[in-house]
């Protein structure tokens, strides 16, 4: 992040903070009986005031052949109910490759659908990775624009005869990353299709809908497996359009105002990396921690 962009971000946050008392609290990714946790490989389908800090990732060998360690944050502020702006960034250590900060990433996201009876919700967003906002060794000379669709479905509407399946939920994400310029230094900048999904089994849901769990720790766990994929679909150099991706089994501990997630990162092929990595994230729900100030939308616009 450059000094000027840091000031711009600080100014925007200060401006937002000046209006925080204007509207009531609004929920995070809740639809009907279902609370969708924040996931690490793909985004959850909700929009809320939240902070992921830190997200720590270790890859023994990334797709470029380097050992990689990342520490990042992501902060989302709701502007009006269902609509939020987020900003993400963080440092990366590569061996070989050195240390630096990646480009600042922002997203505008709108939760346009929730069908409570079906525990189904969906959101659309536009993610932008901003050129020249990282350190010189890790910045891109062009923006990347990524329209995103996120959706989630809980299985709570299944009949009671299938009670054990009702804590299941799936979420999915589909996006396309479009570079802001078609080539750099004579090399094409490809457009990529990205997709992923998660399969979750919510023990909090089991405890409150299916059968009581006596253990206070276990009843807050959500075993999850995430699948993420990406494939260049146009403007790629010959032989570079292989599908890459990861499979990420793990578990989420969901408390009242925060959650902690820990997942393994298993590359699906050698083009995606080698060895099993790990990612962990501490996540705070500001709508629960600061319901009357930082955790509510700036405006009531659109609130039922």
């Amino acid at each position: 992040m450059t000094t000027s962009s840091s000031r711009a971000v600080a100014g925007a946050l200060a401006g937002a903070a000046a209006f925080l008392w204007l509207s009531p609290a609004f929920a995070h990714a809740v639809c009907g009986d279902r609370i969708f946790p924040a996931t690490l490989g793909i985004d959850d389908p909700g929009v809320g005031d939240e902070l992921a800090l830190p997200t720590l990732t270790y890859l023994p060998q990334n797709s470029g052949g380097s050992q990689e360690f990342d520490a990042s944050f992501s902060y989302t502020k709701t502007i009006f109910p269902g609509f939020g702006l987020s900003i993400s960034d963080g440092p990366t250590w590569l061996r070989p490759g050195g240390y630096g900060w990646g480009d600042v990433d922002t997203e505008a996201k709108y939760n346009f659908l929730c069908i409570p009876e079906a525990e189904f919700m969906a959101s659309v967003g536009l993610d932008v990775t901003w050129a020249h906002t990282g350190t010189p060794n890790m910045t891109n000379p062009y923006n990347n624009y990524t329209p995103v669709l996120d959706a989630g479905l809980g299985f709570g509407a299944l009949p009671k005869s299938l009670n054990l399946l009702r804590p299941f939920a799936v979420t999915a994400e589909l996006s396309e990353t479009v570079p802001g310029q078609s080539s750099t230094g004579g090399n094409p900048n490809p457009t990529s299709l990205n997709w992923g999904f998660t399969v979750q089994y919510s023990l909090p849901y089991y405890n409150s809908h299916v059968g009581e769990i006596d253990n206070d720790f276990v009843k807050h766990l959500i075993p999850v497996t995430e699948f993420t994929f990406s494939k260049p679909i146009s403007n790629f150099a010959p032989g570079t359009n292989q599908t890459t991706g990861t499979i990420q089994p793990g578990v989420i501990y969901m408390a009242d105002t925060w959650q902690f997630a820990l997942e393994a990162i298993v590359p699906i092929n050698s083009a995606s990396g080698r060895g099993t990595g790990v990612v962990g994230e501490l996540h705070f729900f500001f709508d629960d921690i600061f319901p009357n100030t930082l955790g509510k939308p700036i405006s009531k616009w659109g609130q039922p």
Binding site: G211, K219, N292
Partner: protein, 122 residues
Amino acid sequence: MMRRSILKIAAALAFALAATAANAHAQLEKATPAVGSTVAPPAEIRLKFSEGVEPRFSGVALSAEGGAAVPLGAPSVDPADNSVLIVKVGKTLAPGVYTVTWHAVSVDTHKTQGSFDFTVKP
């Protein structure tokens, strides 16, 4: 230098947040009769939430197999613990499966809802 400062501020913020006591969405932690249990006819239904709830804006309904509603008293909270929502059951329940459907508004105005079954044994 500035980035290191940001990291230090971020780490301090994370610790501060982790130590913050706050309100949240009221999630059902425990129920009496217990979720999915088989019990003698209960005189009341007690729902223990993760947060304090507002009885004026919260509610509980009870239905028998087939959907027939069972009369319940007005919801109240345990005087010693505002996270426990209590409703009296208006009659002795016949053996069978019953469904409790609840909605709760926590003291910070967040809404949650849910349902579960219990069985009254013969």
